[in-house]
Symmetry: C2
Subunit: 388 residues, 2 copies
């Protein structure tokens, strides 16, 4: 019996992935760029155990067994890893040994944060460690077939998922633009918004967009390529102003395309739009971009902000979206936040309250590294049944 | 002293007007199509009085005096009418006589229904009666310079505002596609949504869209022309299915473009999106389009529905958006609604409640005629100060 345990990060897209050109291979209609978040605050953790005695492959997600079906994305990832292991002549684990896989996310599913990217990245990375396969572009094509944006979670820092041109998807790979230590003071506040609406699953949503939106083609052909070039340059040159503007515009355009879909897909809610309005007000008062919002297929906001501006931004957020929770330790999560210096407080004194108790909690995190293997002491047991 | 009193209708766009190619002349970037609503339920009413003894032009809107400034849109409309009167050699009223103008809307401003279209149409039509100028395409260019969509309110039924190609705007005119008796059973339910947010004024919003949205060009060049052709055909052939689909898609696309604007313009709220979702559910249950939503620059929904389907649709609306108001006479306004036949009630039994008390009230109205002159007994006094 041999076990491997790894963690993998969440990534948040700056240029959004929306729309596939091939459903099964998960080939996107446009390039996307993301920032990888530190695994200290948010991560998936996976233990893969291979044993001669296991009768069949099984998987547990957050403690609940999930089907390991023929033709599933899970199965496809495993097959692809086996193929790479055979190609490399890896002898570490016989391919005939069945696997037990346990995976957990260290953040509540209720938070509505996309967990599949971190989850599939962690699965594929763990399998690569098990079968002794190197992390390279080819491995990102495997993660991509689990969940598109999972390919971006195989690297730390700033990552571009290249659309690729080939039908077989072999050039639809993720590549690092810059490592996390290139811009280490790039921080994020995640505002987890209370929301109870049912929404269109993103897989279905992007299918419908490609089929029905008349604007998506224009986005893909005429808008995204230029944004990719400019955002890469902004990241390379630590240009937060350009970074912020492209990020906000691309978030808005993704939601515009979702709305142009028929029937329309709506992921932001009134609170989300209120955050957008607040960020624009705030930046205007500060005289330049101090914060940039982005929203994925849900109502939660990710605010990009440089480390030095975190305390001031947070105090503005708390003024505009106050909460009644007395236990600050569960409301404010993640990296500690230094006391605000009062020098700039006059700029937010006149901000109006938009909504009370609008957020479930706020997570403070920052740019981080890609997946990593943990020691044997980190073996994941809590996701597995006792007989494991 | 000579007085003229007229009423003019509200119109609701099916293909949206959004974006100007000339700010002062109010020339649009694309053609639009609207339906004129009956003045029995919603209208502007204007009395224009000309007198040798008036010292200056004055205007009262809903009882409050508004400035009559040089260079204002109001002033521009009056000048244009004078120009037409001179050109026609009209002798009815000397152009040197000053005017007192009183205008009221018979619906609360708080309803958030666009009142400027009806208001300027009524002003221009009243002036045309005063100076004995015929209602023709040229007159629509005058109303257009008051408020773009006002040109569409000069005709009843279904109306197209042609973008035009000339720099001076003389070919940017409204023309009737079909009169109201062409499709008399085209009814509308207006769901007036409770909302307290501040929003971007539409004049400013469309300026920003033209300047910053990367999607609006594609809409204008590639999407709207085809929709105009198909919607004209659908109206001519009483094809409610095509009418409904184009109307809903165009509403969605207008709001998508607003969202792609930077900073984004957001006019729909959670309740609006909930109405969208309800209409799609409802139509799916009914097996074909029985209702079509459209939203202007605000959260209120206009639901187009054929007369025979009004009672059933309303009962579905009431099931999904119940209200606690005990006085039905103020909640349900406008045309009476026959009792629902129970034959189809099973199809809405399983609809879930989306939101309670989400609407301020519901107005039931239908396609209607253009502006008309009223008798002397209708002289509007309530908008004017006593000394008038």
């Amino acid at each position: 019996m041999i076990s491997v345990t790894c963690v993998a990060p969440v990534n948040i897209a700056l240029i959004k992935y929306w729309g596939k050109r091939h459903e099964d291979l998960i080939l996107p209609v446009n390039d996307s760029i993301s920032m990888t978040l530190s695994t200290d605050e948010l991560c998936a953790k996976t233990t893969v155990t291979a044993s001669e005695t296991f009768e069949r492959n099984r998987m547990w997600l957050n403690g609940e067994e999930v089907p390991f079906e023929e033709g599933s994305r899970l199965q496809r990832c495993l097959k692809e890893v086996h193929r790479l292991a055979v190609a490399k002549g890896s002898q570490k684990v016989p391919p005939s040994w069945k696997l037990h896989i346990a995976s957990v996310n260290n953040f509540p599913t209720a938070a509505g944060l996309a967990s599949s990217a971190a989850g599939y990245a962690c699965l594929v990375y763990s399998l690569s460690r098990l079968y002794d396969i190197p992390l390279n572009e080819e491995l990102t094509t495997v993660a991509r077939q689990g969940s598109g944006s999972a390919c971006r979670s195989l690297y730390g820092g700033f990552v571009q998922w290249h659309r690729g041109a080939l039908d077989n998807g072999s050039d639809s790979v993720a590549k690092q633009i810059a490592p996390s230590d290139h811009w280490p003071d790039m921080h994020v506040l995640i505002l987890v918004v209370n929301d109870a609406r049912k929404k269109t699953a993103s897989t279905r949503g992007m299918q419908q967009s490609v089929k029905t939106s008349q604007l998506i083609k224009h986005r893909v052909d005429q808008v995204v390529p230029d944004r990719i070039t400019k955002l890469r340059q902004a990241i390379r040159s630590h240009d937060f102003q350009t970074f912020a503007e492209i990020t906000m515009k691309d978030s808005n355009q993704f939601h515009a395309v979702a709305l142009d879909t028929y029937p329309p897909c709506v992921y932001m809610n009134d609170v989300s739009h209120s955050i957008v309005s607040f960020v624009h007000d705030y930046n205007e008062r500060m005289g330049s971009y101090h914060a940039a919002y982005t929203f994925d297929a849900g109502p939660n906001a990710c605010l990009y902000v440089l480390a030095e501006n975190v305390p001031h931004l947070l105090s503005a957020v708390q003024k505009v979206f106050p909460n009644d929770l007395t236990d600050g330790s569960t409301y404010l999560r993640g990296l500690p936040i230094p006391e605000v210096e009062n020098t700039e407080s006059s700029k937010i004194d006149s901000l109006d309250v938009h909504a009370k108790n609008a957020f479930r909690y706020i997570i403070h995190t920052k740019v981080g590294e890609g997946p990593s293997e943990l020691g044997a002491e980190s073996l994941l047991m809590n996701g597995l049944p006792l007989e494991h």
